[in-house]
């Protein structure tokens, strides 16, 4: 496999995009990875699953910084 730096940037962007489009209500809560289910462990050993959920949530928050209006419209349409 001959990689170029450009292919690395492409792969990184695609991965981050894949994490950013995971929908909170439809998908993550269904498989038990929602943000309201991660409050469990107090103490300083959060565990892998909680760390992963925090990572997904932070990536989604950072990536959705400028797209707030668009996701707002989507939610209104699907609330009926």
């Amino acid at each position: 496999m001959a990689f170029t730096l450009y292919s690395l940037i492409q792969a990184a962007i695609l991965c981050i995009n894949a994490v950013a489009v995971l929908h909170e209500e439809r998908f993550l809560s269904k498989i038990g990875w929602g943000v309201d289910q991660s409050v469990g462990g107090f103490g300083d050993e959060p565990g892998i699953k909680v760390q992963l959920m925090n990572l997904i949530r932070s990536v989604r928050t950072v990536m959705r910084g400028g797209k707030f209006k668009f996701t707002g419209k989507h939610k209104d349409r699907n609330e009926n």
């Binding site: 496999m1 001959a2 990689f3 170029t4 300083d44 050993e45 959060p46 892998i48 760390q51 992963l52």
Partner: protein, 306 residues
């Protein structure tokens, strides 16, 4: 009113030495911070203008015989200063240069000992990184400290060696060299990112910084250089013998070094309540990163030694 006078004093101060050129510099220094290219064009236009009446008054500038060269030199130096300040500001946003200087504080004795340890780590007794009042010692004083000089030099040597190996087999072209360099760089970046991700997910409290991980990833290039050299000198058998040797040495080195940093880092505030899965997972990380090295060495060198 004070702002207004301050705004005018800036171009005057910069254009003070050549007294006759203040007309030129008033344009560029007021336009230069915001629009560099536009300032350049207006200054070019202005330089064409007064040069006709500068020829007569050239005698009062005795730094250069040609006042145009003098003006161009002053303009160029002011532009270079601005560029340097901008570069420094941008770089210091991402990494502190002091931390980077720590990794390059090496000397010959350290480099020789470290190369010996990388190739034959089985007799090295003490793998602890020594500290001096909470800061790790520089590589000059402690052989176990990680540095970035050896990985950088080894990486560049590997690229040159790859070019030479391809040239020997008449498969060389300049694009291949760039492709080889970027492939190796991409694998280093991937490995460092995977290590960072796994260390974050397992909440390992360690003092391994990003540069340390880059250093440990870069140490495999020493093994790669040795492998490629033996493959070129001794043919296919020499390649596999050297590959096995450097793989085992590198795996041993990585496991011993990372064990010191990752495994006993049960910090003092977790009173031994770590679950049973934790030390195992940390062991898996060290072993996995050690096993990854021979795979990468084989991947990046086998096409050079057919």
């Amino acid at each position: 009113f004070t702002y207004y006078s301050g705004f005018h004093s800036k171009p005057r101060a910069r254009a003070a030495p050549p007294a006759g050129d203040s007309v030129l510099f008033e344009d560029t220094s007021s336009a230069a911070p915001a629009m560099n290219s536009q300032g350049y064009y207006t200054s070019g236009y202005n330089m064409g203008g007064p040069s006709n009446d500068m020829q007569g008054g050239g005698g009062m500038n005795n730094l250069f015989a040609d006042p145009m060269a003098n003006a161009a030199m002053m303009y160029g130096s002011s532009l270079a200063n601005q560029g340097k300040d901008m570069v420094n500001k941008e770089i210091s946003r991402f990494m502190t240069v002091n931390k980077l200087k720590y990794f390059f504080a090496v000397d010959t004795r350290y480099v020789l000992k470290k190369l010996m340890i990388l190739m034959f780590p089985y007799t090295h007794q003490d793998w602890e990184v020594r500290y001096h009042r909470d800061t790790p010692l520089t590589p000059r004083q402690d052989v176990n400290a990680s540095d970035l000089y050896i990985p950088t030099m080894a990486f560049i040597t590997y690229i040159l060696l790859a070019g030479m190996a391809l040239g020997i087999q008449k498969r060389f072209s300049p694009e291949v060299l760039g492709l080889c360099a970027s492939t190796a760089l991409v694998w280093v970046i991937i490995e460092v990112l995977v290590m960072l991700l796994s260390l974050y997910l397992l909440t390992v409290h360690t003092d391994l910084s990003t540069f340390d991980l880059i250093a440990y990833s870069g140490y495999k290039y020493v093994g790669m250089i040795f492998t490629v050299l033996c493959g070129l000198l001794f043919g296919s058998d020499g390649y596999f013998v050297a590959f096995a040797w450097s793989s085992f040495a590198l795996m041993f080195f990585i496991v011993r070094s990372l064990k010191m940093k990752i495994l006993p880092s049960l910090s003092s505030d977790s009173m031994g309540m770590g679950s049973n899965a934790k030390p195992q997972l940390r062991l898996y990380i060290t072993v996995a990163s050690a096993l990854f090295q021979p795979i990468i060495i084989y991947w990046l060198t086998s096409h050079l030694v057919r």
